[in-house]
């Protein structure tokens, strides 16, 4: 029983990290319709930015902010230059996902070349281990959970309470109609790149702050969790992404506790496949059916 409860606790920690990334992904996808596999590589880059800063004595939390900023800038620049080039040539939607995979490879291997294909270990203190009943977590992990909650509140607040949020939701629901209603698409897309890029960067740093190691494959190890949560949660729904992350985090940790870590990611994927089998319509929501990207 203790193991069971403990693994729920660990699941919540993993879920918090995943949720930050999944919210960014779902926001980005809802607005731009780009299924961005390069998300993985951006997370890796940001994790390395944070590693560099942290290893030079900067606090991990400041480094995380810097990683977020790096993610925002990188995502924005890629969206505005590279992805725009594809949009201009009106490539098909499945070719865009291919392009993002190519881009992800390029970025990852730039990191590989610079990092000399090595695994780097963080050296900051994770703080003391806190026990709350059967649960236990380090101070760092507790902060990560709080961070995820703050991120959820911030994103939801942004979507529900601001004009920008209304515009984003309109774009996610029906882009053409949104454009016809006079929404400043350009500005909404720019903001979506920046915000989602920031969340992407923070998620990448949060992931390595929990695992304490970083290498050029960091992002692609983390990507299945993030994408599964975003797809499960439904396009453009941060709350859905968080709930999905929670379910997946807890299930994977329970499986890991009882079946060994090799099967925990399998469990995550099993959940995703179950959803594909039972609710394919969740992936066919009206906003996701359109066949062009907006970048």
């Amino acid at each position: 029983m203790t193991i069971f409860l403990q693994s729920i606790g660990f699941g919540v920690i993993i879920a918090s990290i995943t949720a930050i990334g999944a919210m960014g992904f779902t926001l980005q996808f809802g607005v731009t319709n780009v299924f961005n596999l390069n998300y993985a590589a951006v997370m890796t880059v940001c994790a390395f930015v944070a590693y560099l800063l942290q290893s030079h004595g900067v606090s991990i939390w400041v480094a995380m902010l810097a990683g977020g900023a790096a993610g925002a800038i990188l995502t924005y620049l890629i969206g505005r230059t590279i992805l725009r080039a594809y949009a201009r040539r009106r490539v098909q939607i499945f070719e865009v996902v291919m392009a993002t995979l190519g881009l992800s490879t390029v970025l990852s291997y730039i990191v590989y070349v610079i990092s000399r294909d090595s695994i780097y270990e963080f050296s900051f203190s994770v703080g003391r281990t806190v026990h709350l009943g059967p649960f236990q977590a380090t101070t760092t992990q507790l902060i990560l959970i709080v961070l995820a909650v703050v991120a959820l509140l911030a994103v939801e607040g942004l979507l529900r309470l601001t004009r920008f949020g209304t515009a984003v939701r309109a774009m996610s629901a029906d882009r053409d109609l949104a454009v016809a209603c006079g929404i400043a698409v350009n500005r909404v897309v720019a903001a979506a790149w920046l915000i989602s890029g920031f969340l992407c960067g923070v998620a990448g740093v949060a992931y390595v702050a929990n695992s304490m190691t970083v290498s050029y494959v960091t992002g692609s190890l983390f990507l299945p969790l993030v994408l599964s949560a975003a797809m499960l949660g439904g396009v453009g729904s941060p709350v859905g992404a968080c709930l999905a992350a929670l379910v997946m985090g807890i299930v994977t940790e329970i499986v890991a506790a009882y079946g060994g870590s090799a099967y925990s990611t399998t469990a995550a994927f099993g959940i995703l496949v179950l959803v594909l089998l039972s609710r394919p319509s969740s992936l066919l929501s009206a906003g996701a059916l359109r066949q062009t990207i907006t970048v």
């Binding site: 596999l37 291919m98 291997y109």
Partner: protein, 626 residues
Amino acid sequence: MSFYLSTLAVYFAIYVMSAWSLNLQYGYGGILNFGWIMYQAAGAYAAAVVSLGADTAPGSFQQYILGSRLPFPLPLLVAAAAGALVSAVVALATLRRIRRDYQAAVMLMLSIIALQVVSAAPAIFNGSIGLTGITRPLFSALGLSLTGYQWVYAAWVVVLCGVLYLLVEGLTRSPWGRALRSVRDHEDAAIAIGINGTMMRFEAFVIGGAIAGLSGGLLVEFIGAWSPGAWSYAETLVVFLAILVGGVANNRGVVFGSLIVPVLFLQLSQFLPQIAYPGFIDGVDWIVIGLAFMLSILLLPRGIMPERRLRVSRPAAAAAPAVAAGPAAVLVTPALRVAGNGPAGPVSTIGPVSTAEAVSAGPRADANGTRDVTERAPVLSVRDLTVRYGGVTAVDAVSFDVMPGEILGLIGPNGAGKSTLLSAIAGQLRPAAGSIMLSGAEVRRASPHSRARHGLARTFQLTSEFAGLTVFENLLVAGRGARGASLSGLLRSPARNKADEQAAARRAWALLEQLGLEYAANSYGRELSGGERRLVEIMRSLMRDPAVLLLDEPTVGVAPHLLPKIVADLRTISRGGVALVLAEHSLDVVAELSDRVVVMAGGHIIARGSYGDVVVQPDVRDAYVG
């Protein structure tokens, strides 16, 4: 040097196989298998463990499952079977009708996860260290020098390549391959002409997986080892790039692509002197591969050698009657007489072809060529059909009948439920309640492709031509029906297949002549104008002599000067005995064509009768004006 060249030859041949495997899935089937390398790995691991012997044997230092020692060439068969099996399992879970970019992401994630599992669980395939010590098949039996053996192995792989080429080329050029390409280009439309899209993609995926598995088996028997390092997701990109550079859906093009990308580029860079540190050049290679991949999608998405265009010219015999009778004259009555006397439909028609076939509706045309709608049973009968989207009832208990040869106009303001109604009848949407009788049979629970096979055809609001098929192929693919399109049908009776194919070709030519589109027979769907696309769509739906044709806004996107032509064509089609259900915004077109009109608003039928009668009713006016 000889040693090196023989190694290169083996790699080249295996890469060519890999490219054919992925090209079948991506180029012909439109499946973005980003996890392709996993199926090669499945074959490699399978061949390894059945060559190594039991892992409990004395001297064994590795852990793995299913250890046994099978004689050559059985491990290769096991490898192909493993590739096919893993593909089948994955296909069942993921080849759903979801967006292709989602699907691609799922496949990518699956390969990443599989890699993690295999690395982390030593009991399966010796974990992250991988398997080693796989002996080369027949090495001691042949008694050759190492280099000599290498050349023998290369020759063996090249022979296998030759066999595989015949297989993939035969498959992709067959009606099955054509049907697969139609699913790639527009799945809904492919289903609407009776093709089982899910099954087609499943078959392509599994065959591709088997070839991938075989390539993995050949690779592991040659290298003697296999580990997680050999199958990171990026390896899939190399094969993709070979296809993109060589030619999408071109089996010869990808041979060229495999020569350029994996062989010349990746191997030549191994000759560079070491720069910086070991691994640096590998890293740069991958960066270049990724960049090249991005650029080829942007600039050359169909490759240097694109899909080969099927060029056909009209057979001389078929052209004669058209000249004799003149196109306008053949459209109506003489055609029907011919059709009425003949046994049934074009498949049984042998000998010189006349344009009559084009217009006839086969067995459904009246024997004397007159239209006598009143005394016949309805060919389509809809009762209390209800469709709900979540809480919204888009079609509410709608009932109507359509007689053979009748044109039923379906009008109503935007959001009235017209398209939903058509989709529910054709099977794209599942109705919540009601009954759909097609030629006397209940089809409410039938799949859309089986409804199509029972005489229901439809067009789509947005034209649905197969962009990557020529106009002629667009028609052929619809003419074949279930037999030639399914893999089992293809293999079972080559003779019947040939007859089917010839019959379909005759019918296609007749239709092309009737609708005046012969000049475009060899144009790709994507090269056509809006009106031409519409005509192709209409011709395609007539290929199988439908009893009922559902037309969703057939005049949208049609240039005004083509409008009278389409109206006239539709009238001719209906006179051939086909029942038309015409959902249309242009009231002029409806007024001109319809025998009867049904007016919908808010999911209900609010009026029915002749066009003249219904348009004056106050309800109808209110519905339109608001």
